[in-house]
Amino acid sequence: MLSKRNLQLDDRGELHHLLAIEGLPKRIIERILDTAESFVGVNEREVKVVPLLRGKSIFNLFFENSTRTRTTFEIAAKRLSADVVSLDVARSSTSKGETILDTVANLTAMHADMFVVRHSESGAPWLIAQHAAPHVHVINAGDGRHEHPTQGLLDVFTIRRHKPDFTRLTVAIVGDILHSRVARSQIHALTTLGVPEIRLVGPRTLVPPELARLGARIYTSLDEALVGVDVITMLRLQNERMNGALIPSASEYFACYGLTPKRLALAKPDAIVLHPGPMNRGVEIDSAVADGRQSVILQQVTYGIAIRMAVMAMLAGAAR
């Protein structure tokens, strides 16, 4: 009953795969954040390479295209001195009818140590982890609308650098929560770290009531939700959401849920603004906010490298 078990931890309770934030103990999340802290220093040095993963082979398996996330994983692996191969499986093997598991078996035979997997279907990295050889580690780089754990970790890492005490925070996450793997990972990370109040904000089509069961409060009015918050995460609104009856138009969405300087003023004066990127300026966020003093959006990108280095190093047992 492999699918009933949490595969992420090994018999000693250490991280073996990173598939989701949900189910990760607080001590492991904190250790990843602490380890990432030490890599921030590496990334600011002249020579940005450490030899922790020398001789290890990391394969980036992107069944769904993503230049940005794949690049940050590549940079992170290279800075740890690993050999990294990025395969655009979306276009190569699977289009020839090879199944995911065949692809993985072939790469394992090439002595892969770690797979970084992105897939358009929720749960795909779980399937790979279930069938992976015991020495192989799997990192979920985003699966369908389920989770994007390294993004969730870099979000809480960024928050922690500005607001060290999670137990005093109120966090608002705004936008298309239903289809967002970023939101799910961030919600689980925040609740595990002890954030007492998470507000999910959007119309019912994008924020259905069941999501409250993740440990959050649901708001339909952005103005009400922003009052007194410490952290605001704006989610990207995909264009395809406007094809059906989820929302009528980008301009109506911006009118109801766009973050403007006027609305930002409802939050605490030192509130920070996050966005997982890429941004739609004028759809979910006003440029004045995106580029303003409260925005930490570019820091998220920088810290993303440190977080991915930390996760890879911990999985490889090089940072215990």
């Binding site: 699918s3 199944t99 929720s122 779980w126 069938h131 699966d143 993740l214």
Partner: protein
């Protein structure tokens, strides 16, 4: 072949029989209950001490294809099933009387369960042109269905049910509104929200039950609703029955036990149609079955090759191999809901047969000798390696379930003997 089954507990709700006595079978029929016919000698003596002897199970839902028929009928025998209603979404689709003839002849030559096909309601199940219902009926179809396909308009259904009503043919439909269910792979609830799976809302079922019941009312056609899954769906059927509409319904045995929580970490064995729903829905299905709103429990047998499961949840094929867990799941439910065994056997027995307008299975003298002999107190762990079915796909793998089938007899022919398996 003459068979004597000795010392078992005979349970036959149809002839109000629940007693310890011998059963005698000859020439494909029951020839004696308790007392042997004159000048009796048996070719085969079966010692059923401590075992239950009951009419073979009637399973109203299975997908059978000609290519795998022998294996799957053997699986049905291993599951104690002696009558099967098979859906038209076989390959090839049962929209051609010749295909129906061939399927039935092949089944007869295998001495397996009696196979009662449902014909396709539309050509190719496309929901556009009506199939040749009268010819299909003449070839042996007991009703007409769209299988898993739900993509047809209310107008098509209205016309098709008018035509079916002309000849009194029942129409079997899966109540799921195609546009509400579009893209969904799991119950639209907390689990789907957490796992990031696209949801199928409960209203996809209630909207379809309402539409189909109204069209049944308007046309006078008999309607059998296949695989209810929601509390609201059960309530809608209860109302329709109370109004006197000619409606019957069934539920899959899996849905009486499992909920969406069993999906766990994307267990593709739980990718079913309809989706596994909430605990509240499961409890309502149980109540609906016990109070008679739901007529029958079915296996919804859909064997799949192993690689159909080695895919992400949403891409995995739909269905489970169900023949060999049907009786166990019925026994388990009877046990937990404290339902007498005779009543529970009716769920896949006379009640199912009545819903399908088939003769009720019975152990009365003169009845066809379709018999299952099982040990209700023995437990086994469900393993795909012990399945006779080619499909080892079951969400029940690893569960310990009650009920070990020892013998299955089809029309007097010993089709399954656990001692030789």
């Amino acid at each position: 072949m003459k068979i004597a089954i000795r010392g078992g507990r005979l349970i036959d709700p149809v002839s109000a029989l629940d007693t310890r006595c011998d059963l005698y079978i000859a020439a494909g029929k029951v020839v004696g209950v308790g007392t042997a016919p004159a000048e009796w000698h048996a070719n085969r003596e079966i010692d059923a001490t401590g075992l239950v002897v009951a009419p073979g199970l009637v399973d109203l839902a299975a997908r059978l294809t000609r290519a795998t028929l022998a294996t799957e009928l053997a699986a049905a025998a291993a599951g104690g099933i002696t009558q099967i209603v098979c859906s038209p979404d076989a390959s090839p689709v049962l929209d051609d009387p010749g295909q129906v003839d061939m399927l039935r002849l092949r089944a007869q030559s295998l001495h397996g369960a009696q196979v009662h096909p449902l014909g396709a309601l539309s050509v190719g199940l496309r929901g556009e042109r009506l199939a040749e219902l009268a010819k299909l009926h003449a070839a042996g179809c007991i009703g007409f269905s769209q299988g898993l396909a739900t993509g047809f308009s209310p107008r098509f259904l209205w016309q098709a049910m008018q035509y079916a009503a002309t000849y009194g043919y029942p129409v079997w439909l899966r109540p799921e509104d195609a546009s509400l269910a579009a893209g969904g792979v799991a119950h639209d609830g907390e689990v789907a929200a957490r796992l990031g799976l696209a949801g199928i809302p409960a209203c996809a079922e209630t909207v379809a039950v309402a539409a189909q019941a109204e069209i049944a009312r308007a046309t006078g056609a008999r309607l059998h609703l296949c695989r209810l899954s929601t509390a609201e769906g059960v309530e809608a059927v209860r109302r329709a029955k109370a109004e006197g509409l000619p409606v019957t319904a069934d539920v899959s045995a899996l849905h009486l036990h499992l909920t969406d929580i069993d999906i766990g970490h994307y267990d593709a064995h739980c990718r079913l149609a309809p989706p596994l729903r909430s605990e509240r829905d499961r409890d309502a299905l149980r109540r609906g079955l016990i109070d008679g709103t739901i007529d029958a429990v079915v296996s919804d047998h859909r064997p799949l090759p192993a690689d159909a499961r080695q895919l992400p949840f949403a891409e995995a094929a739909v269905g489970a191999s169900g023949f060999e867990t049907l009786l166990s799941l019925i026994l388990r439910l009877a046990e937990s809901e404290r339902v007498p065994l005779a009543d529970a056997l009716g769920w896949a027995g006379y009640r199912a047969a009545n819903a399908a307008a088939l003769p009720a299975p019975s152990l009365a003298v003169g009845a066809p000798a379709d018999v299952v002999v099982f040990d209700p107190r023995a437990y086994r762990v469900v393993r795909s390696s012990s399945f006779t079915s080619a499909g080892g796909n079951s969400p029940m793998l690893g569960y310990e379930l009650p009920g070990l089938i020892r013998y299955t007899i089809n029309r007097g022919h010993l089709a399954y003997d656990a001692g030789t398996h």
